[in-house]
Symmetry: none
Subunit: 230 residues, 2 copies
Amino acid sequence: MSEDPVAAAPATITPAMQDYLKAIFRLGETGPVATHRLAEELGVTAPSATNMAKRLHEVGLLTHEPYHGVQLTLKGRQAALDVVRRHRLLETYLAEAVGLGWDEVHDEAERLEHHLSERLEARIDSLLGFPATDPHGDPIPRDGANLAPGPTLLQMPAGSEGTVSRVSDRDPEQLRYLRDLGIIPGARITVIEHLPFEGPVRVRVLPPGEEPGQEYVLGRVLAGVVRLAS
Amino acid sequence: MSEDPVAAAPATITPAMQDYLKAIFRLGETGPVATHRLAEELGVTAPSATNMAKRLHEVGLLTHEPYHGVQLTLKGRQAALDVVRRHRLLETYLAEAVGLGWDEVHDEAERLEHHLSERLEARIDSLLGFPATDPHGDPIPRDGANLAPGPTLLQMPAGSEGTVSRVSDRDPEQLRYLRDLGIIPGARITVIEHLPFEGPVRVRVLPPGEEPGQEYVLGRVLAGVVRLAS
DNA sequence: AACAGGAGTTAGTCAAGACTAATTTTCTTT
DNA sequence: AAAGAAAATTAGTCTTGACTAACTCCTGTT
């Protein structure tokens, strides 16, 4: 009897968890994040980071490959975006409506971001006129969609599953090829494994409507062009 | 070496401690507070309350006479007033500046009150023009000064008339109901009669600005929650 | 190919704060 | 004055999230 690898929704994401997710999001734009970098970023010891990594892995917010760093799952990425959104919205509000200095807002937002209800978040957003960026010019994520175009298959750890959101439209040849494989927006896709030495990616594809699902191996160029919904 | 009986300043007062102090302050206007009342108020079990009482005693925020309840020390009372002040200031701000409804502000303030920096507290106070009372009519403590609450409708004899000074802010349902009746701070109210056998109370209400006045019958719970200016 | 040193993990501890179960005090009622 | 009920406490457990100490894995040198 082992844990479900496709872990259920975490009942609640504690403030500490939110801080870790946010830090991983910030550090992890390009690949896995080493636990010691995480520890350093958060000002905790290395074992604390490992420990939290294990727990976040268990609730399915990230994947933790022992000795090789952590990577957010789609769910984890969404949760991180939620926190970043609240943080930047608060910074904007504190600067514009409350009149705090732009050097003061970060610390205040850091304390409040974990305790903002959805109702209050929405109200502040609307009072500010749905701003696109915070006072430092950083974009404020909205609908989980805007900030990032969504990760490519290359960036997703083995085992993760998601829905294809878009496919680069540059090369008609590529597009036709991918369409023949059923890799089109809306298709469900599972990353089975990354083959070693910068190798290709094995995936299982479930085109919308079709059932059995089919396995393919995609070269890195192709895998880097397919993005999942974030 | 043992603990100093005249305990030193507690390094930090945790959010949980703040909630206990606030509840004791609210319940303890007249003498010691029984731990089971405290537990009930906070929605925890009796042992949890006893346990926290012991810890707060150790850091000198209250005195705990085993089997005979707790009482705030001066330091504890001051800490409680700080929390109450932040709570009521936040309620006022959320209602006046953010535009939340008077039945919504309590819950939001409850979440944020533990994470308000002194800087932000002072800024909000000044933005509001140093208000004396919150939207429910409760006084906002300042410099540790506090005020006696007026009598409730239950305590007023038939025939007496007065102005509503404050309404308990605990239950949004109650608040909406009372507001619909025009029972808000500033309304004129006359107690017509107390119905027999612990019965409800008949009152006439004159909301501020409105004229004719209207008669209602209030259950004892509701009547016990509406206070008149003293 | 061995190995040093750094990164990562395991094991064990601690404090806050909640819980249940069992026990003790105090109060009320006959 | 004794019995029961109600209130309070003790004892022991659990979870979260941090820590130190000790061990293991990985990698870049020689």
